[in-house]
């Protein structure tokens, strides 16, 4: 069973608090939420205990020029589990996909932003996830929605061709914008995604959070060097078993 995660914009940027998102998301069948608002004030453990849902600390950097993005990455990387960079201009998209320290490039097609084969390749190399933003598909109408759909298709074709890692989100700014995972799968299927793609995109948030938590764990002495005993999962002991 896959664990579904949604990434939310909480108060003061959004109009719902983290706990309210957690309440609704738990009702809708999510296993976790990622908070992308840095200023949000919440008690992670109390929320996790009350609503039985994983709350992941994320920070979304919303700067347009590479210099200030670079500064923010340095400032915030250690403070959060997931570091997101908001795309939307060619400069910020380009910079974000070339940073190993960035986890996710969000809404790359918003505003003047665009995506191409160079960025897709760079994102694959540096392991930066590209976000498929379903917000406009769910909440816009007319021309804006058509443009959003066109952009999603372009992004999807590039991501599929270059095997770029990706995440899926409805980018809610209020708990009323949340949609259940099955609903997102249904919408995705209507606009050309496969059910499997959407499910993997929603689960990828959780997988990333898990990976980063493990890396930030105290048992790591330095990157790649971990304190601990060989346990049953280590290759050596496995070899013993098979003899």
């Amino acid at each position: 069973m896959t664990d579904y995660y949604e990434v939310v914009t909480a108060y003061p940027e959004g109009s719902s608090t983290v706990s309210r998102y957690a309440k609704t998301a738990a009702e809708y069948g999510y296993d976790g939420i990622v908070v992308r608002t840095r200023e949000a004030d919440y008690d992670q453990e109390a929320i996790a205990k009350t609503y039985d849902i994983d709350v992941v600390t994320g920070i979304e950097i919303a700067a347009t020029n590479p210099d200030s993005i670079s500064g923010s990455i340095g400032n915030f990387r250690a403070d959060c589990t997931l570091l997101l960079v908001q795309g939307g201009t060619n400069a910020s998209n380009r910079y974000a996909v070339e940073q190993d320290r960035v986890d996710v490039l969000t809404r790359p097609m918003a505003g003047d932003g665009d995506f191409n084969h160079v960025l897709a390749r760079a994102a694959t190399t540096h392991g930066v996830r590209i976000e498929f933003d379903f917000g406009p598909v769910l909440r816009e109408t007319g021309g804006k929605r058509v443009q959003a759909l066109r952009d999603l298709r372009k992004l999807r074709e590039l991501v599929e061709y270059y095997g770029t890692p990706y995440v899926v989100s409805a980018s809610p700014t209020s708990h009323l914008h949340l949609r259940a995972p099955r609903e997102l799968v249904a919408v995705g299927e209507q606009i050309g995604f496969s059910a499997d793609q959407i499910e993997r995109g929603l689960a990828e948030w959780g997988r990333l959070a898990e990976r980063n938590r493990q890396r930030a764990d105290d048992s790591f002495v330095e990157p790649g060097v971990r304190r601990g005993r060989y346990d049953e999962q280590s290759p050596e002991s496995k070899r013993e078993d098979t003899k």
Partner: protein, 159 residues
């Protein structure tokens, strides 16, 4: 007109849909049905919209929360689910919608997924962002009234 013989009647599925909105929203059946058809028309096109049918069968909405039963043709439930997900506002009021379940009869749908009637709001004052604010609460959900509009919180935010 004489009704169709049983073997040739269309088969239906009924979606149990939960609806949530702001505390002062007033949504009626007609408005919800209209938005649903708009959403279906925009997402699925006219042929898709006609195929799914999407008729609001029963509708109840009171004090910011409600539920509805939507009739769809059997075999079109995935498309119907997608259309329902695209309803984002009714009469300008933002709404959250969720498909709670799907049944083959209205009765099963009601019994299994609907009917947990929500109570009324309770008026109170809370301390939020270092000021006392008007708020309404129900169960552990609290809607705080700020000059910029409602902020949705829970009891956990005031402990």
């Amino acid at each position: 007109m004489k009704h169709l013989p049983k073997h040739i009647r269309p088969r239906w599925r009924y979606l149990a849909v939960g609806i949530e909105s702001t505390p002062d929203a007033e949504i009626d059946r007609g408005a919800f049905q209209r938005e649903l058809w708009y959403a279906a028309g925009n997402l699925l096109g006219d042929p898709g919209s006609a195929d799914t049918d999407l008729t609001v069968y029963s509708f109840a909405f009171e004090a910011g929360a409600g539920e509805a039963i939507i009739r769809v043709r059997r075999g079109e439930t995935d498309r119907a689910r997608a259309a329902v997900a695209c309803v984002s506002a009714v009469d300008g009021e933002p709404v959250g919608v969720v498909v709670r379940g799907i049944s083959g009869t209205v009765r099963a749908c009601e019994e299994r997924y609907l009917g947990d009637r929500t109570g009324d709001f309770e008026q109170r004052h809370v301390v939020f962002t270092e000021a006392t604010r008007q708020a309404v609460s129900r169960d552990d959900a609290v809607e705080v009234s700020l000059p910029s509009g409602f902020v949705s919180a829970t009891e956990l935010d005031f402990e």
